[in-house]
Every structure is written in C-alpha cells, then in structure tokens.
Amino acid sequence: MQEILQYFFSGITNGAIYAVIAIGFSMLYNSTDLINFAHGEFVMLGALTMVTFSGPFHLPLLPAFIATVCCISIAGLLFERLAIRTVRFPEPIVLIIITVGASIFLRGIGMLAWGKDAYSIPPFSTHPPLDIAGAKLLAQSLWILLIVLLMVACLHFFFKKTLTGKAMEACAIDKRAAWIVGIPSKLMVMLAFGLSTGLGALSGVIISPITMCSYDMGTMLGLKGFCAAMLGGLGSLWGSLIGGFLLGILEALGVGFVSSGLKDATAFFLLLFILYARPGGIISALNVKRF
C-alpha cells in the first residue's frame, strides 16, 4: 500500500509536467494545426535559462521564474516569425519538418551555450518531505502540482472569459471565419506560439530542481508530452491534463512493479495502444469542445 502510494506520488509529479508540455502541444495544434516537435527543446531552454538566472545571475526565485518564462516566450515568438511565417508554401508536412530542424538547431544552441554538463537548482522551498501514510511527498512535488493547477485555472479563465482567449479559440475553430469577423488571425497564431513556448519554459523551470538539466533533456520530455497529448486527445485542454497525469502514474507504476527499464517504453506502448484503440484520444477533440 505504502509502495503504491509512493509510486503514485512520483507519478503525479511527473504527470503534472507531462501535462504542461502536452497542453503546450495541444494549444499550438489547436490554433495552427501544427505539431511543434521543437517543443521539448523549449522545455530544455526554460530549465537551463532558469539555472543561469538563479545561479550565475543570482536572481531571487520569483523574478528568475518570470524572466525565464518571458525570455522563452519571446524565443517562441521569434521562432514563429523567422522560421514558420517566412515559409512560402506552408504545407503541414513542410512545417513539421521545420520544427524537427528547429529542435536540432535549438539543441545545438543549448550545447554551445551551456556545454554538456548537467545542472540543477535548489528546490523552491526547503521544507522537509511530507509523510503521508508512510510515503514521502517532496515539497517540490507540491510546488509543481500547485503551479500546474494554478496555470490550468488561469488558462481556463483566459480561454473562457477574455476576449483574446475567445478570439484564439475562434481562430482554432475556423480561421477563415475568424478572419472575416475581424480577428487578426496572424496575431493570434503568434500569441499561440508565445503562450505554448511559455508553457514549455514553465515546465522546464518547475522540474529544474528535481532533475538534471542538460542540453539533451528536451527530446525525451517533448516526446512524453506528445504522447500525453495524443493519449488525452490532441487539441483539448482537459484531455492533455488527463493524458499527462495518466501517463505519469502508469509510468511510475510500471517502473515500480515491473522494471525500471520500462520507464520510457510505457509512454510509447500507450501511444501505440491509443492510436489503435481510440485515435482521437480519451477526450477526442474532434467531437467535443476544444479548450
């Protein structure tokens, strides 16, 4: 029992991170029909930028956090402006290959800027781990869950209540109709890129204390996030959230009860399974309201 609980705790911690990454994928897919395979690299950039801001730059936690997310969002906007919008024939396959290229490029930048060493930052707070029924819950895990839930609430509010959020949703539903109505759809696409990469950076920041951050951490995280998004239903906020947590928990249980070699395999087994059984994901964005 205690063991299961322990696996569960580590599962929801990882799951929360996969969920944020998945939401980043989903949101961009929603407004641009594009799967950004460079998304994982923005997570990496977020983590390493946070390491730099809080280490050598000696910024306190909160300013470093905000500065990191802002910087990576701007990097995302530049990515859209320079690499995506300049494409003369923006067919989906061309754009997807561009994002794969961008991911290799960003990994190269990461290696040049931070070297091949792995870094870590101290946890957000130094509370001792909580003891719940014999299982330990790290204070950082609580931070992660809290930040993720807060962020989901903010996103929900943004898409439901603000005009800009609604305009973005309208663009996702029907770009041409949104354009006719007078919504500047290019601006909305840029915003989607900024928001999506910002979310990537956020997930990078919150995991930087519990993992080793290096230039090549993004690929696997990106793929896991992608699996989570597919699992929950690409294009849906709640689907991504469910997919992320489900993946995290199953992964942790797989590691605990079967073999630690199974960690990364779990995600891809799940991906294959969901593609066979229910290609739209658990909450299929094809039939339900997106975001």
Partner: protein
C-alpha cells in the same frame, strides 16, 4: 458608397470575374443574382479582402480597399455574412456575437457594442432564448440569423450577404429578408448575393445579373423582376410554352 470598376478576380490562372463594374448607393439594397459559379461570391470575397489577387478598383466611401486584409476592412465598416454561415459551432451564441464585435471592443466602443447587442436581440428575439446555447445546436434558420447578428455586431455601414437564403424554409427566408428591408429603412447599405432571385429582387432597389463572370443585365429591381430574360432564366416562369407543345 461602394463603387467597383473593371474588377478582375483570379483563382490561379482562371479568371472568375471578368472585368465588372457596379455601384451601390447609400441606403440601398443591391442584389447580385446569377447561377452557381457565375462569380458572385468571388466578387464579395474581393470586396472584403479574402481574395489575395484582384485587379481593378474597389472604392468604399471614396477609399480604395486594395491591399487591406479582412480585419482592416471590417474596421472600415464593411461586414460579411459568409456563404454557409461560418459561425463558431462549439461556442455559445453570446460568444459568437461578442466575437462579432471584436473590432469594436478593441476600439473601446463598449457602449456602442451594448447597443448593437440589444438591437440584434430585437431583430432576432430567438437568439435571446438561445443565448447560452452552443451555436451548433441551433437550427439552420437560427444559425443564419446568428451569422447576420454577428456581422451586425461590428457596427457596419455596408453589409455584404452571401446566399443568406440557402437551404432555409421559405418562411424563414421571408423573415430574414424582412429584416434586411428593415435594416435598409434604418439607413444600412446592403449588397446581397442570391440565387433565390425572386425573393432578392422583391426587396432590392437595384439588381445585377451575373453570368460566367460578367454582368449581362442590370437595372432597377422591379424592371428586372418583369424582364423576360430574367424570368426565363432565374424566376422559373414562362416554361409553360415548353411543355404545351
């Protein structure tokens, strides 16, 4: 109010509109009628900025619309009710209407938006009953009313409608056309593209008949309604002769 001179529109190498000229006076309903593929919708797309390539001149209140994108044209006071309605089905009626006012809210014209919303509710009381429903659950006629309401929310002075009667029951069509007349009587200028020629000509002040990208007939709507050629081709009259012999 709207003056088009020698407009040519292209889809790739195909010329869909072959040098047409027309004008819409302030406070008028002008209708473009003609068969499928005659270039009516293409012309509307050119006016509201959806078509990237066209030649000629489109003047709205004396200013050229060349090179403007749809949001800029909406801001100038031209609003399109597109073919097939193109509402946002998963969003509520109220969200659809508010997004129609996107440009107005961005201009900080909140008071005007409120007035427009009340006006739309007055014109289409059914939308008030459906206010919190997803737009996709509305019937076809209600969706068309929502599309018109959404277009009105941007506070246009020129309203473009592309086939508002398509696929609707005659009673609903009548209701929608009555609303258009009411709007005209309040000073709105309307450019109406229709295949339902009779209904359109009955409310219009002027009409243009399109055929394969050119205007073949034009004149005051009552004259067109009586025109033998129009009757034969678009109003489905005078076929009696065919069958009797």
């Amino acid at each position: 109010m709207l003056r088009i001179r020698n407009l040519k529109c292209f889809y790739g190498r195909i010329m869909a509109v072959k040098g047409i000229s027309l004008s819409v006076g302030k406070g008028q309903i002008v209708t473009l009628i003609g068969a499928n593929g005659a270039g009516k919708s293409t012309l509307l797309e050119a006016v509201c900025g959806l078509l990237p390539r066209w030649e000629g001149e489109i003047l709205y209140e004396g200013d050229s619309l060349k090179g403007l994108d749809p949001p800029a044209i909406v801001r100038k006071g031209v609003s399109l009710v597109p073919e097939g309605r193109m509402i946002f089905p998963p969003m509520t009626v109220s969200d659809n209407l508010i997004l129609g006012a996107y440009t107005m809210i961005r201009k900080k014209e909140d008071a005007a938006v409120k007035q427009d919303l009340e006006r739309v509710m007055e014109l289409f009381p059914i939308l008030k009953d459906r206010y919190r429903q997803p737009a996709g659950t509305l019937s076809g006629g209600e969706q068309q009313m929502l599309a018109i309401g959404r277009a009105l929310m941007s506070h246009p002075r020129l309203l473009l409608l592309d086939e508002p009667s398509m696929g609707l029951a005659p009673l609903i069509v009548e209701k929608i056309f009555q609303t258009l007349e009411m709007l005209r009587n309040e000073g709105m200028t309307i450019l109406l593209v229709e295949q339902n020629a009779r209904a359109a000509l009955q409310i219009a002040d002027r009409g243009y008949v399109f055929e394969t990208g050119s205007i073949v007939l034009q004149g005051p709507a009552p004259d067109l309604l009586e025109d033998q050629e129009v009757k034969r081709a678009y109003l489905g009259k005078d076929y009696g002769g065919f069958y009797d012999h």
